[in-house]
């Protein structure tokens, strides 16, 4: 099963849920955990292990000044303003380039070729016998996070049990992560912001046709607005994790709840089974 863990709102506990699910599941079957929060990946902090890394690159244009006739067609074509034709030279802004290859196609003088520009990395580790951890990491100052997420997902391969830790938000990094998933856990908290953003995140899963269920984290027992929303949208509440300073301390310290408080192992295994059951249902 390919399972995404998303939220809308940041800081609700996606990484905590993904990490514990993977750790517990790896006790019984192989699982790959993919950190798709490539702007601020944190899963590796919970699974220290030796790792290997490889570059994620994007092709960017290289202009041969000898062949370039300054016709300006490439600058005119570029939808992103990455190429600007001045009176005496062509300026290229790599951070604006989307690597579409269009400038190379349109140049009548064949003056444009491409070179690889590093934008981030994908790191692979095996923190436990049946657990693979893949981390997508955008380089500092980088702006193209979606290709890094794509590369991380590709490194995970197409089959088996895969858990994807999503970025916060509802825009294209989340969509990139969710695409192709069999189910999605939406982690929320019982606050107005949590519910507000849960609605937005649920819109995305619904738009993509990915069946979703909800985990309420840091619950203080006043969950009625979230519960009402779930009833209204026919969303299963898969697990409620109470607010507890000990749990907070475990998470702060980069430890796994299911290891520190073994009673939680059963809850996370049950969560996995409930997600499996979600995949049989039609998405709205």
């Amino acid at each position: 099963m390919k399972l995404a863990v998303a939220s809308g709102k940041g800081g609700t506990g996606k990484t905590m849920v993904a990490a514990n699910l993977a750790a517990v599941l790896a006790g019984t079957e192989p699982v790959t955990l993919v950190d798709c929060d490539a702007e601020a990946p944190n899963l590796h902090l919970f699974f220290p292990a030796v790792s290997t890394s490889r570059d994620v690159t994007l092709p960017v244009p290289v202009i041969n000044r000898e062949l370039c006739t300054m016709c300006g067609k490439c600058a005119e074509f570029c939808q992103y303003g990455a190429l600007t034709a001045l009176a005496d030279r062509l300026l290229f802004f790599p951070e604006l380039c989307h690597s579409c290859g269009g400038c190379m196609l349109i140049c009548p003088d064949h003056a444009i070729s491409e070179e690889k520009k590093r934008i981030g990395s994908v790191t692979l580790a095996t923190p436990a016998r049946q657990l693979r951890l893949i981390t997508g990491r955008l380089d500092i100052g980088g702006s193209q996070v979606v290709p890094v997420i794509r590369a991380a997902k590709e490194a995970a391969g197409p089959g088996g049990n895969i858990i994807y830790d999503c970025a916060p938000g509802t825009s294209c990094p989340v969509v990139e992560t969710l695409e192709g998933c069999d189910a999605c856990i939406l982690v929320t908290e019982s606050t107005p912001s949590g519910l507000h953003d849960l609605r937005l995140a649920f819109n995305v899963t619904a738009k993509l046709g990915v069946p979703a269920g909800v985990v309420i984290n840091r619950s203080d027992g006043n969950d009625q607005p979230v519960l009402d929303f779930c009833v209204e949208q026919d969303l299963d509440v898969l697990l409620i994790i109470p607010f507890d300073r000990e749990i907070a301390a475990i998470q702060c310290g980069g430890h796994l709840l299911a290891r520190e408080q073994p009673a939680w192992e059963k809850s996370f295994l049950a969560l996995w089974q409930k997600c499996r059951a979600l995949t049989g249902r039609q998405a709205p």
């Binding site: 579409c100 349109i106 500092i140 938000g169 825009s171 107005p192 702060c252």
Partner: protein
């Protein structure tokens, strides 16, 4: 106008809560912007009254005219974003994947593809008791959050040029939307939390901000949930020459005020409110013209 952005790196550290609380008590005239355009929450604390909105046109999207299309597959061959979907000889563009580059338009021998304007969201202007607020709504699954952040900031400045302070609630992360938020600011206030993840993302967001040279201040929220890590953050900041402008304790008043839809600093002597008041005082000294 002084420009201060409240950011974090890691999500959920309390940026919005702190922004709202500061907006409530900072003296002078304010204009506010919510640059967490994916999931804008600042308004939940400020009871805004909408005064206007305008559409945000993101990247254009390609569309294939099925009448003219000859199913030659040239577009799909050239599309680097996997946006051309072919099913039983019918070719369509997946709008989630299309980045509006125009290559398919260029290469189509039949002239069957065109780029169309695409509304990706909206920029919303509203009024609050502390000043005007500009926020946005990005349609779910859209890209270009960085451009929308830029549009929100530009609108706020354009419509409110004479305010003392431009206070921005930033997005989580360290990529394009965060870069767009932090650029052009006089100072960033990084709200972090005492966890390994908080520290890790603090280091990343500081590295990004150093490219712009705003003044950098760090506030540690919920510091007493893990005093060991809170101290580690203070030590790291000192070593990096960064000012820790304050520490905020974990406080149930934060949640109760949030549920009432008001800033924690309204009519409150709760510990978090007091801590944020100290931060506000310190911030004033550090970033106002007399203080800099």
């Amino acid at each position: 106008m002084i420009r201060v952005a409240v950011i974090s790196g890691k999500g959920g550290t309390g940026k919005t809560m702190v922004t709202a609380a500061l907006a409530e008590i900072l003296p002078g005239t304010l204009v506010l912007a919510d640059c967490d355009v994916d999931a804008a929450n600042l308004g939940l604390y400020l009871s805004p009254e909408t005064t206007g909105s305008e559409p945000f046109m993101g990247m254009k999207k390609a569309m294939i005219d099925p009448e003219t299309c000859t199913s030659c597959d040239t577009c799909r061959e050239h599309c680097r974003f996997g946006a051309v979907v072919a099913k039983d000889g019918n070719y369509q563009i997946d709008p989630f994947r299309c980045e509006g580059c125009g290559v398919c338009v260029l290469v189509c021998p039949a002239g069957a593809v065109a780029l169309h304007d695409h509304r990706a969201g909206e920029v919303i202007s509203s009024r609050t008791s502390r000043g005007n607020l500009v926020s946005a709504k990005l349609e779910p699954g859209e890209g270009n959050s960085g451009l929308l952040v830029h549009a929100v900031k530009a609108r706020a400045v354009r419509d409110n040029p004479d305010r003392d302070l431009f206070l921005i609630d930033g997005p989580p992360g360290t990529g394009c939307p965060l870069i767009s938020t932090a650029s052009g600011t006089d100072a960033v206030l990084i709200v972090t939390e005492p966890s390994v993840a908080g520290i890790h993302d603090l280091e990343r967001v500081v590295a990004v901000c150093r490219r712009f040279k705003p003044r950098i201040f760090v506030a540690i929220n919920r510091f007493d949930l893990d005093c060991g890590h809170a101290k580690a953050i203070e030590d790291w900041c000192r070593q990096q020459g960064l000012i820790v402008i304050g520490t905020i304790p974990f406080d149930p008043a934060v949640l109760s005020h949030a549920r009432e839809g008001i800033p924690v600093t309204r009519d409150s002597d709760a510990p978090a409110a007091q801590a944020i008041r100290s931060i506000a005082e310190r911030l004033q000294t550090e970033v106002t013209p007399h203080g800099t």
